[in-house]
């Protein structure tokens, strides 16, 4: 190894206590949330936003589920950009469904590749990114400011142009992180979390375990996010619950079933939520 380095980094580096994270997300901010349906979502972070009564958030969640539903139940979000929000085998996400049906939230229906393309346009600093995704569907017509149909003058070939999508904040859950911001999902980070991290101005990582930097130097090919790409690190063991803590783990199926059942009765839901997540704030969509 090379010469020892004097690392004049503040002792706690980028570490932030879970109780303080809500302060990192101003009301009205555009917040991208990692995870992939029933897996690996930064749920502890969402619970803190609920606890703090965050308001008017724009959620950017490519393939969402419980992360979106908690924040909508608590009335934290005014808009959701997504390709899909659901509980898969456990049914529809109840508060996403009710909020959309009652016009209490604006839902922007993206697709996965149009969202990836829009994140890429922001990352590369270009005015749009072409894709064939969405061509011939009703998506572009509903999102005129976000994506639009173009044809290449030379070939006449048509495509959907996706304008840049740069969230203010991205929050992803990982297995291990150090105080410099290095982070990793084992065996490998999947899906669009990596693109949310590159496109967002501020990046927050919630981690099952805080480890020493040497853990990353021992297997650098397994690191998902380099320290310089991460702004805040939050120790959050079990921070993905009730979604699976990562590839290969299982979601808390019993909780999903209890949650969907309780959502049919406001009082039962308020009790379940207060007990297992956080007390619902005044802004909550759940009838008192």
């Amino acid at each position: 190894m090379g010469v020892g380095w004097r690392r004049m980094v503040p002792a706690d580096g980028k570490l932030v206590a879970l109780a303080d994270v809500a302060g990192l997300v101003p009301d009205g901010a555009s917040v991208a949330l990692g995870g992939f349906s029933l897996e690996g979502a930064p749920m502890a972070f969402c619970a803190e936003l609920v606890r703090a009564g965050a308001r008017d958030l724009e959620l950017v969640v490519p393939v969402g589920g419980m992360n979106v539903d908690w924040l909508l139940a608590a009335g934290c979000a005014r808009r959701v950009l997504t390709a899909l929000v659901g509980f898969e085998g456990f049914g529809l996400a109840p508060w996403f469904r009710r909020a959309a049906e009652q016009g209490l939230v604006e839902v922007e229906d993206w697709s996965e590749h149009t969202m990836l393309s829009a994140l890429q346009a922001a990352i590369l600093g270009v005015p749009y990114m072409p894709t064939l995704a969405g061509l011939g569907t009703d998506l572009p017509a509903r999102l005129p400011g976000r994506m639009w149909e173009l044809a290449d003058e030379r070939s006449g070939r048509r495509f959907i142009a996706c304008g840049p999508l740069a969230p203010d904040v991205a929050v992803v859950h990982v297995h291990e992180a150090d105080r410099l911001g290095n982070a990793r999902v084992l065996p490998r980070s999947v899906w669009l979390d990596g693109e949310l991290v590159k496109a967002a101005r501020t990046v927050i990582v919630t981690a099952e375990r805080i480890v020493d930097t040497e853990v990353f130097r021992a297997a650098p090919e397994r690191t998902s996010y380099p320290g310089f790409a991460v702004d805040h690190v939050v120790a959050a063991p079990g921070g993905a619950w009730p979604t699976a803590s990562g590839p290969g783990a299982a979601p808390d199926a019993a909780f999903y079933r209890d949650y969907v059942r309780a959502a049919r009765d406001p009082a039962a839901f308020r009790a379940l939520f207060a007990q297992r997540v956080a007390p619902l704030p005044p802004s909550s969509l759940v009838p008192a």
């Binding site: 390709a83 929000v85 898969e88 590749h113 009703d138 048509r158 699976a244």
Partner: protein, 261 residues
């Protein structure tokens, strides 16, 4: 022919028959029936079939199907974790991955689908999860297979409330004019197996499941089907196929699709 098969086993077998050795498939969310169909085809007539579990676990060999078909536990035995979105989407757009099965909450006569809203988009009667990958892949995947376990007039509608995913578009050569390859090849339901007329691209009845009649299918479909001559009965699964399905899906995850959500 084995008599003691269940409807879900018939649907899985009918879908598996749409697959072959050149199938290179992947699955999305809530895709229990397609996943079992891939496993069945690979264990019977299509041993070289390639399936990427949740688009990520390439050539997986799961011992059972978990609560979510996007779950990492479905990747058991995979030879690769295709974890970069650029790898998956790259291989879907070039056709290296060529087969995708999709369940539409609403399906129209040309195989376009809606998984976004039922009723008015601005104030929907039912807000559904969203098009997900179908909004991307409908226009791009050469071998698109539609399916549903609720073949009724709520599902097969003359006009979609929202077009989440592209099938044959407005019919005829609409897809070619958009410059898009392939299109839906078949639609397997709890009542019948259908495909799309090669010129009009309108849905066509190919076979009716045992115990059902052409009229049952016509009554359950909200648009005019193409019906050409006598419509045969869908071949029921063999005893071997039924035994294999029960071994490949020991917990019966496929039956999830047959309950009303």
């Amino acid at each position: 022919m084995s008599d003691d098969h269940t409807l879900d086993e018939l649907v899985v077998t009918a879908l598996a028959r749409c697959l072959d050795d050149e199938t290179r498939a992947f699955n999305g969310a809530a895709s229990f029936v397609p996943v079992v169909a891939f496993l069945l085809a690979r264990a019977t007539h299509a041993p070289r079939l390639l399936w990427a579990a949740a688009s990520i676990g390439v050539d997986a060999r799961p011992s059972e199907i978990p609560d979510s078909t996007l779950s990492g536990s479905l990747w058991e035995g995979a030879s690769m974790l295709q974890s970069s979105p650029y790898d998956f989407w790259g291989r879907a757009f070039t056709g290296r991955l060529n087969t995708f099965c999709f369940r539409g909450a609403q399906i129209d006569a040309f195989g376009n689908v809606n998984n976004t809203v039922i009723g008015d988009y601005e104030a929907p009667r039912v807000r559904l999860p969203g098009g997900g990958g179908m909004s991307d892949l409908g226009g791009v995947i050469p071998r698109l297979l539609l399916w549903t376990t609720t073949h009724d007039r709520r599902t097969f509608v003359d006009r979609l409330d929202f077009r989440s995913g592209l099938g044959w578009g407005d019919g005829g050569d609409h897809r070619e004019r958009l410059g898009l390859p392939g299109g839906p090849l078949a639609c397997v339901t709890d009542l019948a197996v259908l495909d799309f007329h090669p010129v009009s691209r309108r849905m066509r009845l190919r076979s009716v499941h045992p115990g059902g009649t052409v009229d049952d299918v016509v009554d359950a479909t909200g648009f005019d089907l193409v019906i050409e001559g006598d419509v045969p009965e869908t071949r029921a699964p063999t005893a071997q196929e039924v035994a294999l399905i029960r071994r490949l899906d020991p917990t019966g995850a496929r039956r999830r699709e047959f309950q009303r959500t």
